[in-house]
């Protein structure tokens, strides 16, 4: 049975619906990432799981226990807040021990557990410091240790890395995964950053307008998006409208017939979109599909260059050219180029 089961969860803010009959099951020990843009309902879902928002309808079950109506302090669920929310007048050790003191754990045991957790987050030397004497990354780790200390059945993380700079974020991801595996706790992490979601999640739930647009492993979400919204959110810059042609082909508006591998047979004439990832397109001939166009603009991105290629039919393709072999043969804006790709690079979307 699922560790966390959410059924038909609905939250309204006046006339606006923040969560719309959302259902989701999360297994024990998962690192489940709730991904979504701002206003998608991801923070509302997290706060509802924490008990800070009462749902208008639906049920939340944790390890078989219905927790829907439990107030936050009675739930075996802990949260790390985006602002970290450390208690400013308490030392790091007192912050970490806060939840254990509420449980009435014996002093010596609290001290031992606090030591254990500070070691886990590598902050043993900071036990007596006040939160305002810590850096952002250190505060984030104190918040994590504090939330893990009472051994919650479920740990909620609200944008844990959003306040960290880029290098620290990368490092913190690995730390979080290490700690999660060590603790064996079920983590639900909220983020708006798809790279973070792909790198960390056992499964991703992509939220859009209070509903789950798709739930799946990072590879499933990335390679087999269920809809145009998911494809666009996961960075498929090319979404081309068209119709299904004879078996194995698609007629793209403004481009013409191309070869595409459809996972399920669709009746010819069906209106579809084809998602093409920029990194699956190549500059130069050689694939089963090729079109000619003109480079309109180029954006240097370090590991690659993104070209916007205009096609004669009015359509445009974004092509990511890898810079693995150096920058010698970069087409300049205005240059005529051929763009080619393999049939399996086409993802057919009916929604």
């Amino acid at each position: 049975m699922a560790q966390l089961a959410i059924e038909g969860l609905t939250v309204r803010y006046g006339p606006a619906i923040a969560l719309d009959r959302l259902s989701l099951a999360i297994d024990a020990g998962e690192m489940f990432v709730l991904l979504g843009g701002s206003g998608s309902g991801k923070t509302t879902l997290l706060r509802t799981l924490g008990g800070f928002i009462q749902p208008d309808a639906g049920r939340i079950t944790l390890a078989g226990q219905d927790i829907t109506r439990l107030p936050p302090h009675r739930r075996p669920v802990n949260t790390t807040f985006q602002s970290y929310a450390l208690v400013p007048h308490m030392s790091v050790a007192d912050n970490v021990g806060f939840g254990l003191r509420r449980q009435g754990v014996a002093r010596a045991e609290i001290a031992a557990r606090v030591r254990e957790l500070l070691e886990l987050v590598r902050l043993s030397d900071f036990a007596t410091r006040r939160p305002d004497a810590l850096s952002g990354g250190q505060r984030q780790r104190v918040a994590l240790a504090r939330a893990l200390a009472p051994r919650p059945r479920l740990l909620l993380l609200d944008e844990p890395m959003s306040a960290l700079d880029r290098n620290l974020r990368e490092q913190t991801r690995h730390e979080l995964l290490r700690i999660q595996r060590g603790a064996g706790t079920t983590f639900v992490l909220v983020t708006h950053d798809q790279d973070e979601a792909l790198a960390m999640a056992t499964r991703i739930g992509l939220l859009h307008q209070g509903r789950l647009a798709q739930v799946g492993t990072p590879a499933e979400i990335y390679e087999r998006p269920a809809s145009r919204y998911v494809a666009a959110f996961m960075g498929a810059a090319n979404l081309l409208p068209g119709r299904v042609g004879p078996p194995g082909t698609v007629e793209l508006d403004g481009i013409g017939p191309v070869r595409a591998a459809a996972p399920a047979p669709l009746p010819p004439g069906s209106v579809i979109h084809v998602a093409l990832r920029p990194e699956r397109l190549r500059i130069g001939a050689g694939g089963a599909n090729q079109v000619n166009g003109t480079v309109a603009e180029s954006a240097y991105r370090g590991g690659s260059v993104d070209h916007l290629v205009r096609l004669p039919g009015g359509a445009a393709l974004t092509v990511a050219q890898s810079l693995g072999e150096g920058t010698a043969a970069l087409p300049q804006p205005g240059a005529a180029v051929t763009v080619s790709w393999d049939p399996d690079a086409c993802v057919l979307l009916t929604e």
Binding site: P72, H73, F81, A85, V87, P88, H89, R102, R146, A147
Partner: protein
């Protein structure tokens, strides 16, 4: 140079209207009362600490001082107990409602202070509204006016906004996430209040206590209008020396002693904060 030009009016104002009167009163406290105009010996000619000797020797002044401290202490505590929940409720109210609630707190200032204290006489006197209400319920009338109780009510009522405003200023800046985090870690609403909200509002509490306690110690009007005739506070003693006995130097000595007594806790408070 510019800085000096900007600050000059401020220093002039402080010097003329704050420092100079204090110096004059302090000097006056060392002169002696004589019949005539002005009713004291020339200032600074022969400084005589006799007035302070009287202050320490005559138990009347000590009793008045203790009485004043009691009035100010009880009233400050009452203001804190009443004002804290009000300040917290305003700080927790939806943002669009807060200006209205704050306006309601400050609204009494739009009426004259004396008028408001006099209104309490109408409420508290033997045939007043409260006793009329008790009569309707078939209860015997209570002696309310001219009692210590009336004095405490009056002082608490008059200074309550001075407690609420600094408390609100502090509480409105609290981080609701920290309270949520405490609740999330198993703290019931009462424990959240005791472990997070209350300790973090201590600076607001101290500011509010200072703003209520200090003027309440020297309060003259409320004990005079609402308190019993035996309720001799420092404010009333000072008034009597000045107006009834025309002993300006004695009144000045009382005022200076009061100022010094209040400056000490203020300095301590500042050193803390």
């Amino acid at each position: 140079m510019n800085r000096l030009a900007v600050l000059a009016p401020l220093w002039a104002w402080l010097g003329l209207f704050v420092a100079a009167p204090v110096v004059i009163v302090a000097a006056l406290s060392f002169s002696t009362s004589i019949p005539g105009i002005p009713p004291f010996t020339p200032l600074l000619v022969a400084p005589d600490p006799a007035n302070y000797a009287v202050l320490t020797e005559d138990a009347f002044y000590l009793r008045a001082a203790l009485r004043s401290l009691a009035v100010a202490g009880v009233s400050s505590a009452a203001c804190l107990l009443i004002g804290y929940p009000m300040a917290l409720a305003i700080a927790r109210a939806p943002e669009r409602r807060r200006p209205t609630l704050l306006l309601l707190v400050m609204l009494p200032f739009w009426t004259g202070f004396l008028l408001r204290v006099t209104a309490w006489i109408g409420l508290l006197r033997d045939e007043g509204w409260i006793n009329a209400g008790l009569g309707l319920l078939g209860l015997a009338p209570l002696r309310l006016l001219y009692t210590d109780f009336a004095m405490y009510i009056g002082v608490t009522y008059a200074y309550l906004p001075f407690m609420i405003l600094p408390l609100y200023a502090r509480l409105s800046r609290r981080d609701p996430d920290v309270e949520d985090a405490a609740a999330d870690l198993g703290a019931s609403p009462l424990v959240v209040f005791l472990t997070v909200t209350l300790p973090l509002s201590v600076p607001g509490i101290l500011a509010g206590l200072a703003l209520v306690f200090i003027p309440a110690v020297g309060e003259y009007v409320i004990p005079e209008l609402l308190g019993g005739p035996s309720a001799q506070t420092l404010g009333r003693a000072l008034w009597n020396e000045f107006f009834a006995n025309r002993d300006w130097p004695m009144a000045a000595a009382l005022a200076t002693a009061l100022l010094a007594a209040l400056a000490v806790p203020m300095a301590l408070l500042r050193a803390r904060g």
